[in-house]
C-alpha cells in the first residue's frame, strides 16, 4: 500500500463557541489527486488552514509529509506548496520578481533558485510576461503564476484551494491540464473546488465535508454508484400511483418526489429499463408527460450527501454513508 502523505485524526476546531471542524479523520495517499468538497461554510478552509499551519492546532492529530503539524510546523511548511483561494500576489512585482521573492524567502540556494525560476516560468508558459507586473496579467495567468510559485520548492504536497474559481471554461481546462501534469510528475494534490464535473474528472479520491464532518468518502465512481447506475426523471398523469408501482420493481433502487414529478434511481442500464417502465405505465393507463434519462453526476452525489436541496424539506440525511469516512 502506498504511504499516506497526509493523515488527520479526530481533528476539531472551534471559533469561539462555533465548532467549524467536528472530529474529522481522513488520509491522503502519496501521488494522488485528493478532492475535498463541501458547501460553503462546511469547514474545508479551516481544515486546509490547519494543515498548512496558518491556524493553530486545537484538538486532534495531523501529519503532513511525515511531519506533525502542531510540533514541526517549519518542516511542514518546507514540504508543501499552497495556492490560496484569493489572490496573494504583489501586484507591483513582475512575474520574475514574484518567483525570485518566493525562492528567497524559502531560502533556496542561488543557483537552484535561478534555475527553478526559469523552469517554472517555462512550465506555466509565461515567458513573454517575465518582466510584466502581475497587475497587468489576466486571471488565468495570475493563477498559473501562483501555481508556479507553489511548485518552486518542489513540494511533496500542493494545496490548491479553488484553483479554477472565476476563470473562464477554456482557461479552467488548461488549468486542469497543468494540475494533472504536476501530479504526474509526482506531486500529491490536495484540492478543493466548487466545480463537481472537474473534481469528477481529475480526482483519485473524494471526501465530502458538511457541517464540520466528513459525510462521504470514495472514488468518484464509487460515490456515483451509491446513487444507482442511472437516474430517470418522470412526470406522469398520476405520480402517486406511478411511485407505488415503481417501488415494487426490483430494478428500482429509490424514488424521490420532486415538485412536478420524481427522480428514479435504478440499478440496471437505463436504456433498457426505461422502455419497460414506460410500457408498464401505459398498461395501467398512466400517461407520461415528461421523461429524461441520465447518468448520476458528482453534482447529484453532492446534493444527495449534503442534502442541500432536501435539508429544508426535512428529509432523511442518509446516515449509512457516514461510516465511510476514513475507511478505504
Amino acid at each position: 500500500m502506498p504511504e499516506n502523505i497526509i493523515e488527520v485524526k479526530d481533528l476539531e476546531f472551534k471559533y469561539g463557541d462555533f465548532k467549524a471542524v467536528d472530529g474529522v479523520s481522513f488520509f491522503v495517499r502519496e501521488g494522488e489527486i485528493f478532492s475535498f468538497l463541501g458547501p460553503n461554510g462546511a469547514g474545508k478552509s479551516t481544515v486546509i488552514n490547519i494543515l498548512t499551519t496558518l491556524l493553530p492546532m486545537q484538538t486532534g492529530i495531523a501529519q503532513v509529509a511525515g511531519f506533525d503539524v502542531a510540533r514541526e510546523p517549519d518542516q511542514v511548511r518546507r514540504s508543501i506548496g499552497i495556492v490560496f483561494q484569493d489572490e496573494t500576489l504583489d501586484r507591483d512585482l513582475t512575474v520574475w520578481e514574484t518567483l525570485e521573492f518566493h525562492g528567497r524567502i524559502y531560502s533556496m540556494p542561488k543557483d537552484e533558485r535561478k534555475r527553478r525560476v526559469e523552469e517554472m516560468i517555462k512550465l506555466v508558459e509565461l515567458e513573454d510576461k517575465r518582466d510584466v507586473r502581475t497587475r497587468h496579467l489576466s486571471g488565468g495567468m495570475k493563477r498559473r503564476l501562483e501555481i508556479a510559485r507553489g511548485l518552486m520548492t518542489r513540494p511533496k504536497v500542493l494545496f490548491l484551494d479553488e484553483p479554477t474559481i472565476g476563470l473562464d471554461t477554456q482557461t479552467r481546462q488548461r488549468m486542469w491540464d497543468y494540475i494533472k501534469m504536476v501530479n504526474e510528475s509526482g506531486t500529491t494534490i490536495f484540492l478543493t473546488t466548487h466545480y463537481m464535473d472537474e473534481a469528477d474528472l481529475v480526482s483519485n479520491w473524494i471526501d465530502i465535508m458538511d457541517h464540520g464532518k466528513i459525510i462521504a468518502s470514495g472514488t468518484p465512481i464509487k460515490l456515483k454508484n451509491a446513487l444507482g447506475q442511472d437516474m430517470i426523471y418522470l412526470e406522469t398523469s398520476d405520480n402517486i400511483a406511478t411511485t407505488d408501482m415503481l417501488k415494487a420493481l426490483s430494478a428500482v433502487r429509490n424514488v424521490k418526489a420532486t415538485a412536478h414529478g420524481m427522480i428514479v434511481t435504478i440499478n440496471t442500464d437505463g436504456t433498457h429499463c426505461l422502455p419497460i417502465i414506460m410500457n408498464k405505465l401505459k398498461e395501467k393507463g398512466i400517461e407520461i408527460t415528461s421523461v429524461n434519462l441520465k447518468k448520476p453526476t458528482l453534482d447529484d452525489v453532492f446534493v444527495h450527501f449534503t442534502g442541500r436541496d432536501i435539508r429544508n424539506a426535512g428529509a432523511e440525511k442518509l446516515p449509512k454513508f457516514q461510516q465511510k469516512g476514513g475507511t478505504r
Binding site: 499552497i82 496573494t88 504583489d90 507591483d92 528567497r104 524567502i105 524559502y106 531560502s107
Partner: protein, 278 residues
C-alpha cells in the same frame, strides 16, 4: 544564517522606487514644509525674540535653523509611523499569507520592513538637509570637513535608531488592524501628543510641568536633541532661550531611543508570533 529579511527589504525598496509619485511626494513634502512654515514662523519668531538680549560671545541661531532640526525629526516620525502600512495592505490584499505560510521566521518581516524604512528616512533626511542649506538653514556652522562628516553620521545614527523604534511600532499596529481607516485613526491619535509635547518647533522650557515631564518621555524630544547637538552644537541661543547639551545628555538621549526601539521590537515580535491571517 537567516538573511531572509534582506528579501523583505529588497521587495519594499523595489516598491518604493517603483511608485514614482509616492517617492516624489515623500521628498517634496518636508521641503515644502520647511519652506512655507519656516518662512512664515521665522519672521514671527525673529520679531519676538529680537528684543531678548543674548550674551556677546554666545552663538545665536535663527529660528529657521532651530526648526530645521525639528522638521527633520518630524518627517522621520511621520514616515516611520506610516512605514508599516504596507503590511496592512499585504494582510488584506496580498502577500501576507504567503509570508506567514513560509518557513521564514517572522522576525525577518519586522527587520526587513525596519531596514527599508530606515533607508527611506535616510534619503529624506539627506534631501531635507540639502534643501535646508539652500534656503538658508545654518547647519554645521564653521565645521571642518571631518566635523561635518561626523555630524552627518551622528544625525543619521539618531535618525536610524528613532526610525526603527517607530517602524517596529507601526508594524505592530498594522498587523493588529483590520482596515487602513483604523490604522490612520490610531496613528493620527499617536502623532498629536508626540508632535506637540516635544521640542521640535518650540522650546519646552516654558511648558507647564506635566507637559515638560511628558516631553522628556517623548522619543521625538530625544531625537531633536541629537540632531541639534550634531547640526548646530551643544551650546547656543535660539528664540531667546539658552540651549545647553552636554555629551553625556546626548548619549542618554541615544540610550533612551535604543531602549524605545528594543521595546517596540518586542511588541512587534509578540504581535507577529500571534498573528493569524487566513
Amino acid at each position: 544564517m537567516a538573511m531572509e529579511f534582506l528579501t523583505i527589504y529588497w521587495r519594499d525598496m523595489l516598491r518604493f522606487v517603483r511608485f514614482r509619485v509616492a517617492l516624489f511626494a515623500s521628498l517634496v513634502q518636508p521641503a515644502l514644509w520647511m519652506a512655507l512654515y519656516g518662512a512664515a514662523m521665522s519672521a514671527n519668531f525673529s520679531r519676538l525674540s529680537s528684543s531678548i538680549p543674548v550674551p556677546h560671545d554666545a552663538v545665536s541661531v535663527s529660528y529657521l535653523t532651530f526648526m530645521g532640526a525639528g522638521v527633520i525629526a518630524l518627517t522621520t516620525l511621520f514616515t516611520s509611523l506610516f512605514g508599516g502600512i504596507t503590511l496592512l495592505f499585504d494582510k488584506n490584499w496580498g502577500l501576507m499569507r504567503e509570508l506567514l505560510a513560509s518557513p521564514m521566521p517572522r522576525n525577518n518581516i519586522i527587520i526587513g520592513i525596519g531596514l527599508s524604512g530606515v533607508t527611506k528616512s535616510f534619503i529624506q533626511v539627506m534631501v531635507i538637509m540639502g534643501f535646508g542649506l539652500l534656503i538658508g538653514v545654518q547647519l554645521f556652522p564653521n565645521y571642518s570637513a571631518t566635523e561635518k562628516l561626523v555630524a552627518i553620521l551622528g544625525i543619521l545614527l539618531f535618525v536610524g535608531v528613532f526610525s526603527l523604534g517607530f517602524l517596529f511600532l507601526s508594524s505592530a499596529i498594522s498587523m493588529s488592524m483590520e482596515t487602513p481607516e483604523g490604522l490612520q485613526a490610531v496613528i493620527t491619535l499617536l502623532t498629536l501628543p508626540l508632535f506637540f509635547a516635544s521640542n521640535a518647533l518650540y522650546p519646552i522650557s516654558a511648558f507647564p510641568p506635566l507637559m515638560q515631564a511628558l516631553s522628556q518621555l517623548n522619543p521625538l524630544t530625544h531625537l531633536v536633541n541629537g540632531i541639534r547637538y550634531f547640526a548646530i552644537g551643544g551650546d547656543f541661543y535660539a528664540i531667546g532661550v539658552h540651549y545647553f547639551l552636554t555629551t553625556k545628555e546626548v548619549l542618554m538621549s541615544l540610550i533612551f531611543l535604543v531602549g524605545f526601539a528594543m521595546l517596540t521590537y518586542a511588541i512587534a515580535w509578540w504581535v507577529f508570533r500571534k498573528a493569524v491571517v487566513t
